[in-house]
Point group: C2
Chain length 149, copies 2
DNA sequence: TCTAAAATGTAGCTAAGGCTACATTATGTA
DNA sequence: TACATAATGTAGCCTTAGCTACATTTTAGA
């Protein structure tokens, strides 16, 4: 026997449907750019550490096969984040470099923040790899504020 | 002229390849269960607030079409989270209820934590909707600790 | 310089999770 | 009770992102 549609016997804060829908849309949007963010960040890291970024190195760092890397690189090249020629190293475009820098900085702040809260380093690194993509500028600023104290 | 493969001119902490790969694998695992988590949480919320959970209500709250809801419900039913009959309301199995409770609690902690840091409520809600799925038990405990002070 | 091994690329598959367009079933009200 | 409308379901499409198996190209060392 269902309650009337207007019943609201909530014992805890019930998110409004529009707010929750908007939040979930934002989460899906974040997931859509997440791969690009992790790839350009990894390419920037590898370029700095090894002089160039190669497909095998990316595959190793990203925990996927080289086939997946190839496939994704094709899309990211299409979308203007990087340039690549067959059997050659991968280079970020200025657009890709800008994104990489932002992601590197955000990544560092999130990891440092979690560690400052008492989360062990490896767990902080693990969680940060996912959390970072859902941290808005306002929240990132809050993390940085907390770190500055 | 690429540097030798052993070069390591890093000016900032370089994550080891194995740790980064493990972190990204964990992130992908989290994304695989994320939909289930958001659905069971929404179904529990709706059941409490309206007496039952219907496809239209879920679609509205989740910000997707009813077709997507149907499609996903079929999978979640296959995986034992819920039961549903054509043209009837959706019910969580005990398994689904257990997951829903965990997710509801975690969601609340994450939102409260972000707000305690000074993030405005709506932004906290938005970010939490994505962040929650990447918060490990250790990190959740750290959030709760911080809230208790 | 040759050639085996490493790196890279391609073909073709799967699953999740979106969508529009259309079909069917329930339901509330005249 | 009839029937218009709301709710639900189905068909069929797309993109992302994974994979294995196999083909091709580079490259390093004998
Ligand atoms: Mn990441
Ligand atoms: Mn995520
Ligand atoms: Mn969520
Ligand atoms: Mn949630």
């Amino acid at each position: 026997m269902p309650l009337p549609k207007t019943a609201r016997a909530a014992s805890r804060p019930v998110r409004s449907a529009p707010l929750q829908a908007a939040s979930l849309r934002q989460t899906r949007r974040a997931h859509a750019t997440e791969t690009a963010e992790d790839y350009v960040e990894a390419i920037a890291d590898l370029t700095l550490a090894m002089g160039e970024a190669r497909v095998v190195d990316l595959a190793r760092r990203l925990g996927v096969t080289h086939v997946t890397v190839n496939h994704t690189l094709a899309r990211l090249q299409r979308e203007g984040y990087l340039s690549a020629l067959p059997y050659r190293a991968i280079f970020l475009t200025p657009h890709g470099q800008r994104l990489a820098k932002i992601c590197q900085q955000r990544h560092e702040v999130v990891v440092a923040f979690l560690q400052a809260l008492g989360v062990p380093p490896k767990i902080a690194e693990r969680d940060a790899e996912g959390i970072e993509h859902h941290v808005s500028p306002r929240t990132l600023a809050a993390f940085a504020r907390h770190l500055a104290q």
